[in-house]
Symmetry: C2
Subunit: 354 residues, 2 copies
């Protein structure tokens, strides 16, 4: 690296003022009087030298790293098949950039979770944590909560004091299943998106149960399977459901990613979607509308979730308390063709053309 580092002292020298003045000017400190003439001189000097403050020195002195951490608690393998992360990044970086902050991203493997949290927090690398997809059994989160470290969950963890941004997974799942019931289905299978210690998985399953209950349909455990984030598990669970031979005419797969795997299993089994088995997914990932047949699913406003969560976190950082502790965003059902609704003459789904 050839270019030598320019320090605020260099700027001060060029502008003929003290380093303090440089700092005061460039940080726009309020309640301090600097003549607009010297102010200009400083700004000019900084510009010509291409001065950029050393972030570490700033962080050390100001006790703010200006970095927020996005922590993912799933295993790298699951991360790799997570269709959300990119959308999360989108919303997250948008807000982070607005505030002139940066994003540190990390995966915490379950074994070293607790230490890893504390490492990041105690090392003061990050000012706050954004945590996607919390689990009930996350012990490290307990430590964070006790510590009062600024944290916002993307997802929820009941009985904790965490700030969170989420959708109503239960109600959304219920809506999806209800849609199938309204289409006349009575034997509806369910594959969850993940193991039940993931809060979202548990809630979606609850929504499935509630929908059945309200419709007076029996809950049959034979028709319920637990997925594990990736397509493969969707494929496997659906294959198992089909091979076990318990009849069902529809399935609610609580994740589009798994639904894709399920679709493959169904078609491989010689059944048609939606004629033989109607399918509803969850998430409305990018590929949902391009599947064959296009997947009916619950739209999750992922980018908006990320935006809101980030804003909330920054809010906590700046004001020491958030404007609102728990936020729920709206979802809606996107009716395409995998549920068969277009066969019942009601209204058409969207087209790919727009």
């Amino acid at each position: 690296m050839k270019t030598k580092h320019v320090t605020s002292q260099d700027v001060a020298n060029l502008a003929g003022v003290s380093r303090t003045t440089v700092s005061l000017v460039l940080n726009d400190v309020e309640g301090i009087n600097i003549s607009s003439e010297t102010r200009q001189r400083v700004i000019q000097a900084a510009e010509t030298l291409g001065y950029v403050p050393n972030a570490n020195a700033q962080a050390l002195a100001s006790r703010r790293a200006q970095i927020i951490g996005l922590l993912l608690t799933r295993s790298p393998h699951h991360i790799a098949s997570d269709a959300f992360i990119t959308q999360l990044l989108d919303g997250l970086l948008e807000v982070v950039h607005q505030r002139d902050m940066r994003l540190l991203i990390d995966i915490l493997e379950p074994e070293h979770q607790k230490e890893a949290y504390l490492q990041l927090v105690r090392a003061k690398r990050i000012d706050g944590i954004l945590m996607s997809g919390p689990r009930f059994d996350d012990q490290a989160l307990v430590a964070l909560e006790e510590d009062g470290f600024p944290t916002v969950l993307i997802g929820q963890l009941p009985q904790t004091s965490f700030c969170s941004v989420d959708v109503d997974n239960c109600a959304s799942a219920k809506m999806a299943v209800k849609h199938l019931i309204n289409l006349g289905h009575e034997r509806i299978a369910c594959i969850t998106n993940a193991a039940p210690f993931y809060t979202a998985a548990a809630d979606r399953l609850k929504g499935y149960c509630l929908a059945l209950e309200e419709a007076g349909l029996p809950y049959d455990p034979v028709l319920v399977r637990y997925g594990d984030f990736d397509m493969q598990s969707g494929y496997r669970q659906m294959k198992d459901l089909l091979e076990k031979g318990d009849a069902f005419t529809a399935a609610f797969v609580a994740s589009d990613t798994l639904a894709l795997g399920a679709t493959a299993a169904i078609q491989e089994h010689g059944k048609r979607i939606p004629q033989d088995i109607a399918l509803v997914g969850f998430d409305d990932v990018a590929f949902a509308r391009y599947l064959n047949p296009p997947l009916t699913t619950v739209h999750l406003p992922v980018t908006e979730l990320a935006r809101k969560a980030t804003q909330m976190l920054i809010d906590v950082l700046e004001n020491d308390l958030p404007a609102c502790k728990q936020v729920l965003l709206e979802t809606h059902l996107v009716v395409r063709q995998s549920c068969g609704a277009h066969l019942v003459p009601l209204k058409g789904g969207e087209t790919l053309g727009e």
Copy 2:
């Protein structure tokens, strides 16, 4: 945050030594003699206090932030539909964690690109840059090159001195198209993954051309379209190809993501894959094998690319020069059903069951 920050002074006090000794012990500085007795005392003290060094102070003093930056140059929208990032993260974080480093991720919007680079570099927030998907017209990269800032490309940029890890996009594309030619196709359309100022897009197109040339087939510009990263563009370009009416029996879509969109367009147009149009993609993203029909595609070792690139970058950081400047990893064609090869009795593709 309740827990007060533990400094190395606290550790020193508890161990009854000086702060210097603490630093020397915990950093395992070579060529320095510390009696194993005090060494133990220090380690013990650090442990009981739960001491974690302040990363910013360390960075400031040692001039190493222990953070590498992953920079993405596409627009947030394109990021959101990028099926790679998660896989990249996987390989990247694996290596980064091994070295006890961290990952900062950032999207550089084309407008502020150059400044943004310099911000990160001059602020010494990151020790090195990992740059995914470089473009020919990236002026900021020129600045980086001149500056000699440690940088590794995931992708390539000919005529530059950058370290890079990539696949042979040209040869891989050629292999894919050749496969179609071997199956008897003579009119083969092509949709690139992106605009031609992305190096990968240009190379893949070149591979397409070479394959035609070697087979003595004419290059027909009418059959070539430029994609733009997302499914929508794949859909649009394929629709356009179909509606223009220029006959073709096969298509090489240089990105699975776009291929999915193309698939939807083809099926919507009432054509069958592969009977009417044989399709070969590129990338072998997670969903490729689950599509209907399963997508024949070029397998890209994304995670391995990320791993190698990260290792190379760290190599540069530690030794000031890499073991090897440019690395190419192997690709291979994954034959599934979208190309129709299974209809010609040669050998079957993989099954979903494994």
